[in-house]
Amino acid sequence: MKIGVLALQGDFREHLDTLGAIGVEGVEVRRPEQLSDVSGLILPGGESTAIRRLIERWGLREPILDLARRGAPLFGTCAGMIVLSREIEGDEAPVLPLLDISVARNAFGRQLDSFEADLQVPVLGDQPVHGVFIRAPVVERTGPDVDVLARLEDGRVVAVREKNILATAFHPELAGETRFHRLVAAMASEHDDPGEGAGRRPHPIRRTNAANG
């Protein structure tokens, strides 16, 4: 099983290293044909305006949407979250409108307001996640099918999932945090090989829904 990492611009190397650390093969994706044998895709941090243009220029939009429609997991961090959002504040057109959320870019301010904070992410267990927020976005609205995975102390939403699509406003790949990547790998292997009775078995990321209320 291979997990693709969109390698147009940004911290894709850190995501590949994180996948390596959990023994999962990660591959760089710059062209549509490189998506043909991946079981999931990570959209890294970077500058969303640059990544948006490169996705359009290299014809990656439809192939990525196809991958998502087939049920493969997609995981976006920071700029990746913006790229996956259905609405971007300030009337910017969406890039890959797969998550029914609205995001505000640079929601905390400029670089001087970048910060680190520990977060509770119940779906990943009791151990808190160390969140590194760099000119980070924030989720302003979530649709009815979107699960909130993490909030800041003030209640603002910074991690979400909707079926096979996950996104965080922060960078687990900069903090030595592997649990999100493990979750993506588990979803990818489930997608590759659903096994018997898969239809009745809860999807790995939906499993804790009841606990979340």
């Binding site: 640059a50 400029r110 970048s114």
Partner: protein, 295 residues
């Protein structure tokens, strides 16, 4: 839950988000918009591009805050601005303006011929120039969260940039091959702190992101820098001194992403019009070379 702003991780982290991208020099909000539209990951706001600083002579200083603010409000990508080497008050001013990165730059006239800025004292992150591994590690020990090799700014001539990125990487390879007990002398020779030298020997890379700057004028120049180990590129005069800045900017962005695909570089290089004219290095008197500023 504790929240900490402007940590070392966030300072270094912003540079990591810029990797694989192009940072462009701009002198007006209109140019900043062209750069953003072309796919720049950040812009460097300054009054004159290095080629014009070179032509104008005199003392080159930090840009007018009004002009920097104009560019900050024109684009959503990060905005960097330059302070003179050692001029910590210019850096304080840039921090007060809220720029995203300060470049302590040899392109401006140095304000201190002995000391660089103590960059640990600032909340804003710094990028600094370097010609070799020792210089890079000295800047990191002073608090630089990003390095760019210097090249020779404003020339459109890649030769110095190639020399400097090769020097950094051959320096790293040399350390990696050393025994632990040889690193003491290596640190002495590099004039760099032992701890940083040990880290480079262990990791095989600098502890911060390293871009190439100074002389990139074509898509092939950018790809050359990337193939030599750059994590991204700064393009100064090369874009807005070319015949068609928007197209040149976009072509350099594509070549930086697909730096190892010669077909893409060939494609984006077609019919770009004239690049900036460029200056042979020998034509620049020693006293007018910028890369030798800083130590």
């Amino acid at each position: 839950m504790t929240t900490e702003t402007s940590t070392w991780a966030t300072k270094k982290g912003l540079a990591r988000m810029l990797k694989g991208g192009v940072i462009m020099d701009v002198v007006t909000p209109e140019q900043a918009k062209i750069a953003e539209e072309a796919g720049a990951v950040a812009v460097m706001a300054l009054e004159r591009v290095p080629a014009d600083i070179r032509a104008a002579g005199g003392v080159a200083r930090m840009s007018d805050p009004t002009m920097i603010e104009g560019i900050m409000s024109a684009v959503t990508i990060p905005v960097m601005a330059k302070a003179r080497i050692g001029h910590f008050v210019e850096a304080q001013v840039l921090e007060a303006l809220g720029v995203d990165y300060v470049d302590e730059s040899e392109v401006l006239t140095p304000a201190d011929e002995a000391n660089h800025i103590d960059k640990h004292q600032f909340k804003v992150p710094f990028v600094c120039g370097a010609r070799d591994l020792g210089e890079a590690l000295r800047r990191i020990s002073e608090g630089a969260a990003m390095i760019r090799t210097k090249g020779e700014a404003g020339t459109g001539n890649i030769v110095e940039a190639v020399r400097h990125i090769r020097a950094v990487h051959s320096g790293i390879r040399r350390l990696v091959g050393m025994r632990e007990d040889e690193l003491f002398v290596a640190a002495k020779e590099l004039q760099a702190p032992l701890e940083l030298v040990r880290g480079v020997a262990r990791d095989g890379k600098l502890p911060v992101v390293n871009f190439v700057a100074g002389g990139i004028a074509t898509p092939a120049d950018a790809a050359l820098a990337m193939q030599l180990g750059a994590e991204g590129v700064f393009v100064g005069s090369g874009i807005f001194k070319s015949e068609d800045p928007a197209r040149t900017a976009n072509a350099i962005v594509q070549a930086t992403t697909h730096f190892d695909d010669p077909k893409v570089i060939a494609d984006v290089s077609k019919g770009l019009g004239a690049p900036m004219r460029g200056i042979a290095l020998e034509a620049i008197p020693e006293a007018e070379r910028l890369a030798v500023r800083g130590w």
